[in-house]
């Protein structure tokens, strides 16, 4: 039992990172690369997002690193801009989904009773309508502009967030420290934001990562059905879709955006796994 106290907890994130397992470091570097690509897209990309620079399906060359797509747009440029659009939209969507789902879940857990009942039933209803069908319906009503896309997918994805938040928040809400706050006479806002929220953040962050991937996949699924991000905006889902037939001919072009999606998802999940592991402070087993 001879241990020297380490630095303050929560302030030691950086040193924690240094001691993270290789998989997490790998994940973090991938995420950083993607974020840089997204942020610096106009500077990184050799051509314009929708600029037609050559004939369709040019081979890989010094001029067009990954060749050109079906319209003769530079594939590498599209991939970089795709990162920007896809990541940006998925990030905004996930954030919105979390603001909706988490605040409703917190409210349900904190107030309980009728608030909880009504919110939970509402979510039941939303969940019982298949996501894709619901998205189809909503997007048909409101059109497929990017803001509606974000709102619709966010609403759809807020349901599992609500359930998770409610579940973990209820765990926290019945704890003695929340009871102590109630006995002190604290209002619901304080209880939600100061007592419960900080204690469920880890779970929510982890869920954020996973949700982000699902949002990603839902958007690309919608793009596949022609309801997602509309051309000529570059996004990886429709890029896969546009060139998917090439796979039949043994061309690897469609693998690139698909691989980009998969790589990011794997990276996020690796980081999430590690984060959960770290935040729980417990060893598995």
């Amino acid at each position: 039992m001879t241990i020297v106290h380490g630095p303050r907890m929560l302030k030691s994130g950086a040193s924690k990172l240094a001691s993270a397992p290789l998989s997490a470091k790998f994940g973090i570097s991938i995420i950083i690369i993607y974020m840089l690509a997204a942020l610096l897209a106009p500077h990184l990309a050799p051509y314009g997002e929708a600029e037609i620079v050559a004939k369709p399906f040019e081979p890989w060359s010094a001029q067009f690193w990954l060749g050109t797509d079906s319209l003769g747009r530079d594939m590498f440029t599209r991939l970089v801009f795709g990162a920007r659009n896809t990541l940006g939209i998925a990030l905004m969507t996930t954030t919105l989904a979390f603001s909706i789902g988490a605040s409703a879940g917190l409210a349900a857990a904190t107030f309980g009773g009728w608030t909880d009942q009504i919110l939970s039933r509402l979510i039941d209803v939303l969940m019982s309508i298949p996501q894709l069908i619901f998205a189809l319906l909503l997007l048909s009503i409101f059109g497929t502009s990017i803001p509606t896309l974000i709102i619709v997918i966010a609403v759809l994805n807020s349901t599992p967030v609500f359930r998770l938040t409610r579940a973990v928040a209820i765990d926290a809400a019945v704890s003695d420290y929340v009871e102590a706050a109630r006995l002190r006479g604290e209002g619901p806002i304080w209880i939600m934001t100061r007592e419960i929220l900080p204690n469920i953040t880890a779970t929510l962050v982890a869920e954020f990562g996973l949700r982000f991937c699902f949002v990603f996949l839902l958007i690309s699924g919608l793009s596949f059905l022609g309801l997602g991000i509309q051309p000529p905006t570059a996004d990886w889902g429709s890029m896969v879709r546009d060139s998917a037939t090439l796979i039949t001919y043994g061309d690897i072009t469609p693998l690139l955006p698909a691989g980009a999606i998969a790589l990011l998802s794997v990276a996020i999940n690796l980081v999430v796994d590690w984060f959960l592991h770290w935040a729980s402070g417990l060893k598995e087993d």
Binding site: S128, I129, P130, L132, L137, G221, F224, V240, I261
Partner: protein, 318 residues
């Protein structure tokens, strides 16, 4: 058993309520869609007179709420009504599609569920070893790729190059069971890949979450080999969360497979509902949505019942 029947009847009542609200939402939602079945059917040839005549013949001139109650009344009598577009009986229209959808879902489940359980247990058994990490990365990757992409890859490998399975799931009411199984081999494989990872990870996590329990230590201290500790002592207690995630994935297999249906040209309910939304065929959309919602509600109920069965506290009260 009284508390159990009470729980179940509560869930059934809630399910019915959910279905009712779903029907309201969908009915209202379809009304908000731009255009209606008449304009969609006529497309570019929609002259105002033709549209008006078509609307009248379909009864679209009747007020909205009356149509809803009319529809609700016939549903409660077990009558789904007729499709607006071609006047066909919706029950007849849906029956073969529903069968196809269920057949595909079941075959995908038959492939994926045992594999998921096995994989999950193996990953838990060899947790934090190379095997576990390999399983982890492979499942993650399969989760991360859009399902149409999985479908195309499988087609490329198994249909185009190897030529052993058809890329088109061409089935009808006269297809033999064997023919059907061949026809849906690729779509069910695709779906299996898509849902496998989620279930496998959940199985692993559920089991590992239980390993901190005292009774696991008790089992180990009895000298049980690790696999036996997992299978006999952890797994039975992890059944409830595993059942929940399996059921969620089954629901997905039934309600969320539009994309796979499109790729393999499989005549399931998903394509029907997409078609009907585009054509604004309200009664068909309504019927399909209700079936989907009912599937979800029923499967959730199943998960609840499974959790009850897996929980001796509820099955064997004091």
């Amino acid at each position: 058993m009284t508390p159990i029947s009470k729980i179940i009847s509560q869930r059934v009542a809630l399910g019915a309520l959910t279905l009712w609200i779903v029907s309201l939402i969908v009915f209202a939602g379809v009304q908000f869609l731009p255009g209606d079945v008449a304009t969609e059917l006529l497309g570019q040839s929609a002259t105002p007179e033709a549209v008006a005549a078509l609307r009248k013949s379909m009864g679209l001139d009747i007020p909205l709420y009356l149509r809803y109650f009319d529809w609700l009344g016939s549903i409660l009598r077990g009558n789904f009504g007729t499709a607006l577009a071609n006047g066909r009986d919706i029950a007849e229209l849906i029956k073969p599609r529903l069968f196809n959808t269920l057949f595909l879902a079941v075959s995908a489940a038959v492939i994926s569920v045992p594999l998921a359980l096995l994989g999950g247990i193996v990953a838990a058994l060899y947790r934090n070893t190379f095997i576990d990490r390999a399983i982890n990365v492979v499942t993650l990757a399969s989760i991360s790729v859009p399902e149409f992409f999985v479908a195309y890859i499988l087609i490329l490998v198994l249909a185009v190059h190897a030529g052993i399975l058809p890329s088109l799931s061409d089935v009808d009411s006269e297809t033999s069971v064997l023919g059907r199984l061949t026809a849906i081999a690729l779509p069910s494989l695709t779906l299996a890949v898509v849902v496998l990872a989620h279930m496998m990870r959940m199985t692993r996590t559920s089991i590992i979450n239980l390993l901190g329990n005292q009774y696991i230590e008790t089992a180990r201290l009895k000298g049980l080999p690790e696999w036996r500790v997992l299978v006999r002592h952890a797994l039975p207690n992890a059944l409830a969360p595993i059942a929940t995630v399996i059921v969620l994935n089954l629901a997905y297999l039934i309600t969320g497979v539009v994309v796979v249906e499109v790729v393999f040209v499989y005549p399931g309910l998903g394509q029907l509902i997409v078609d009907s939304v585009q054509k604004r065929d309200v009664p068909v959309v309504q019927a399909c949505s209700l079936i989907f919602a009912a599937t979800y509600v029923l499967l959730n109920l199943t998960a609840d019942i499974l959790s009850i069965i897996a929980n001796p506290r509820l099955m064997h009260p004091k």
